[in-house]
Structure formats: C-alpha cells, structure tokens
C-alpha cells in the first residue's frame, strides 16, 4: 500500500538502493555550461555596449535565468524530489520579500527611481 510519506525520486529503486545515475548526462552538463558562459558574455557586454532602457531588465533577466539554470540542472532540483525545491525556494522568496520590504522602509526604490 502506498502512502503519502513515500517520496522516492525517479532514480530510486523500490528497495531503497541509491541510483546509478542522477540528473543529466555529462554532455548535457557541458552544453548547459556553454549556455551559461554565453549568458555571462552577454551580461559583460552590457558594460561596453549601451543597452539604453533595456540595460536593467536585460541584466535582471540574465541573472535570473542563470540562477535558475544552475539550481535546476547543476543542483539537480529539476530531477530531485519537489520538497527540496520547496525548501530552497521558500528561503529564497522569503529573503527577497523580507529585504524588499526592509529596503522599502528606507525609500530605497523611490530614491533609485
């Protein structure tokens, strides 16, 4: 009988034996690293090329994409049990909300706007 407390990952076997492979292949990891390197190059290019009003949005989007790609693929959140994602992203979202609220009390965003 299955229960709600069973949360084996897709790579675990019924006897609880740990997996032989967990995540993407080595080639896929290299491709992901190359994509991350390319995104970093675009980020750095914003220092030399005038992106105009797209400067900040470009940097924020690239930063977010890189963060999620590393967390999802290199940290295996995409392949692991969702509970690990909840633990990590709860901390992350809590941090963003707490400090966005704290900075708001200093009128930080108004000053920058």
């Amino acid at each position: 009988m299955s229960t709600a407390t069973e949360h084996n990952t897709s790579t675990e076997h019924a006897d609880g034996h740990a997996d032989e492979h967990h995540g993407a292949s080595d080639k896929q990891y290299i491709v992901i690293a190359l994509i991350l390197a390319a995104l970093t190059a675009i980020e750095v290019s914003t220092y030399y090329i005038d992106f105009g009003p797209l400067f900040m949005p470009t940097l924020f989007v690239l930063m977010t994409v890189k963060f999620i790609v590393v967390a999802s693929y290199f940290m295996h959140l995409k392949f692991d049990n969702k509970l690990f994602s909840y633990l990590f992203y709860t901390g992350l979202i809590l941090a963003v909300l707490v400090y966005a609220g704290a900075l708001s009390t200093f009128k930080f965003f108004l000053q920058k706007g």
Partner: protein, 204 residues
C-alpha cells in the same frame, strides 16, 4: 499497516537510515541550510544596495571596479560548477579516479577565484578603499568577503573529500557525500551570479 508509514531513504541501500519522508536526511538538512543561507546573503546584498552610494571619502564604486578582471573571475567560478557536477556524475558511476580528478580541478578553480579576490581587495586598498573608508567600502568588503570565506570553506571541503575518497574513509553513500559538497559549491556559484550583477555590473 505500520510498514507503509515509512519508506527507505535515498541512501538506505548502503546501510544508512530509514526516514519518515523517504528522503535522505543529509540532503534535506543541506537544502534547509542553503535556504537559510539565502537569508544571510539577502541581508548582506540588501545592505550593500542601500549603502553603495554612501561615499563621503575614498573612491566611488565605478572608479575602482575592474569589470574585465571580475568577469574572468566570474567565468572561472562558473566553470568550477561544471567540473563539480562532473565530479558528482563520476561519483554516481562509482568512478573514484575521475571523481577525485574533477574535485581537484574544482578546488583549483575555486582557489583561482579566491586568489583573484585577494588581488582585487589589495588593489582596492591601494587605491584608497579601506574597510572603514566609507559605508560603501564596509558593505562591499563584508559582502564579498563573506562570499570569499564561503568559497574558501568549499575548497577545504573539496580537498577533504578528495583525501577521504582516496583513503576510502567515507561511510555510507559516497555519491551522496560528493553531492552534498556539490550542492554547497553550486550555491556559492549562484550567490556570485547575483553579486556579480548587482554589485559590479549595475553602477551606483
């Protein structure tokens, strides 16, 4: 019915624990730790964002930052995440030789990053930015210094892991031990992704 209340953990095939969630307690603890680390670095980054324009004396951020140099450092740390994940992959294949190889390369790349940070701090100090020169200086050194300490601790963990794997001193699931250190290392990388953008690329 009682046997349905629990299931075997991720590492139970190696004589480790049976957990109520069916997940590895070690892994759960590591993710909770990383979640709490988000709050630590969130505080440090917010403090920097608040104070980066507060320069009563000493150089301004855009006067001292060396973006090409820091970009290379960022690239080195990013590539160390690749070598780390290759080490985890090798550990899952029970390939100790390649695991140790990739772990050592990761540690070397991390050492390059920390070396770059030491060089950067020294250059900034010579240009007149001390820890107490301005609020910008204090918050900058605290944020990047905390990150540098995290990288240094990661290097120690990597080298300790290499030594333990070489001597076959890791009890239980070896792949999981490598994965735990890997999670910490990747976290240090994602924090730098945020710091590089918010501190270096966005001008004060």
């Amino acid at each position: 019915m009682a046997d349905t209340a629990i299931s075997h953990g991720h590492d139970s095939g190696h004589g480790a624990h049976v957990t109520s969630t069916g997940l590895s307690n070690n892994k759960m603890a590591m993710w909770m730790f990383l979640g709490s680390e988000c709050l630590l670095f969130g505080g440090l980054i917010s403090t920097y964002m608040l104070y980066k324009g507060r320069v009563n004396s000493g150089p301004q951020p855009d006067q001292i930052f060396d973006i090409p140099f820091t970009s290379v450092s960022s690239f080195v740390l990013l590539m160390s995440s690749l070598t780390m994940v290759l080490a985890v992959s090798a550990a899952q294949r029970k390939d100790d030789r390649n695991t140790n190889l990739w772990l050592t390369i990761t540690a070397l790349l991390g050492a390059m990053f920390v070396g770059g940070q030491v060089y950067e701090f020294t250059a900034f100090y010579r240009e007149g930015l001390g820890f107490t020169t301005s609020l910008f200086g204090s918050s900058f050194y605290t944020l990047t210094g905390f990150h540098g300490v995290h990288v240094s601790v990661g290097i120690i963990m990597l080298m300790a892991l290499v030594g333990m794997i070489s001597r076959n001193r890791i009890p239980g699931n070896k792949a999981e031990a490598v994965e735990m250190v890997g999670l910490y290392w990747h976290f240090v990388d994602v924090v730098w992704i945020v710091i590089f953008t918010l501190v270096y690329l966005i001008p004060a």
